[in-house]
Symmetry: C2
Subunit: 231 residues, 2 copies
Amino acid sequence: MPKSVVYNGCSVGENPLCCFDDLTQEELDFVEQNSVEVEYKRGETICKQGSFASHIMVIKEGLAKIYLENGNDTLILKILPAINIIGLPSLFDGNNTFPYSAQTYMDSTVRQIEISAFKKLIESNAKFAGQVISMLAENTVIINGRFFCLTKKQTYGRLADVLLCLSNRIYKTDKFPLQLTRKDLAELASMSVESTTRILTKFKDEGLIAVHCQEIEILNADKLLEISTIG
Amino acid sequence: MPKSVVYNGCSVGENPLCCFDDLTQEELDFVEQNSVEVEYKRGETICKQGSFASHIMVIKEGLAKIYLENGNDTLILKILPAINIIGLPSLFDGNNTFPYSAQTYMDSTVRQIEISAFKKLIESNAKFAGQVISMLAENTVIINGRFFCLTKKQTYGRLADVLLCLSNRIYKTDKFPLQLTRKDLAELASMSVESTTRILTKFKDEGLIAVHCQEIEILNADKLLEISTIG
DNA sequence: TCTTTTCGTTGATCTGGATCAGGTTTTAAG
DNA sequence: CTTAAAACCTGATCCAGATCAACGAAAAGA
């Protein structure tokens, strides 16, 4: 199975944010002039689904979840480490609100760019527009992968996926601080907290992971990947 | 709840395809010269996940499903009536394959446009690029809605959703030919064929729909919408 | 310091919906 | 027309995983 067909449940892209790389100094200044930087504490809401989307955001530091909410139900679409962009889907014609909410998992720094300035850049710089297209396209593919994972895999596969994603995509090491609670993990894997606990214990008993005080270590990534693959 | 937050399970956009509207005659000729039109019969595969994406497609006539496949599992991402575009997500840098498969539900006509020509248009015409961005962004929001629906609603809500979508978005009338089999409906609502049958019978018994020979009629759209909303 | 939440764990129970198994009806093919 | 193959329907069973309940441990607040 080619790599592109591996559906993983925790959607984080692999391509670094590059849409600003090719801007002229003048354009960079323009972005600078039309943006502000904001510090958020853990758990704060960066943007709220349905509210006016007056800006595109770039998460410069920290970690955030992007999610849909409807009543008491929430669905995490993806988690975003720095450096990534938030709010591109609100760019479509006739829409002026955020289609999702975002909240920080830890203290984070976010740059807000006026959406009108962002749109101006798209109109005036076709290369920039091309890169926005590229980001949107990749994002679509990534979220589709998570869509598949959450609808077709069962609990063990989903949680294995989340653990592998945290290790491979977010912290980029086998041993990482567990800054997310069981509730966070459960929400990411779209299951109950109790199931999360049970499966983590099982993984621990089988020697796939080790849980220290506030740290988690992946001991057998291959086996976890197998569990993720068979679903 | 604002309209944009209504998650429906059968993702079809409401905005007509408009990205070609503002092209010059010269650009339209360029598209024409770099494209071909193909006729497909019911059930034929328009594009295959993982194969080379040498072209972007426009479905000019007919109806198709866009889906992910992995082993025996398939997940329908959206269904596309004419006139809509297929393949935008394969536009991202470093990717040259289709991220999903597509298959016709009925005899359909598809125009294939060379991807290199399409990319050239994006590079040379910022307005066109802007419209591609708009389409991708809207598509993201729509698929997220289906994502939410399939992961958070239970069977009754999902099937109600599918029926409403067929009526409102695809056929645009309360009474429409049932060209999809129970298996198709089941796949769309992501449930078993048996459950689909049972729920349809229940809806019929309760007077929400009527099923004639090869035709289905929505009798109580309000009640169906309520079922869809509460999940 | 003590008290109150919040977090994590484990066992018992319940249930939505899949699966299985047996039909009939419709469509397609020979 | 006959036969084979889909498509459709209905009841019985089973199971993954949610929910409920109860309790210890850690963190936060007073």
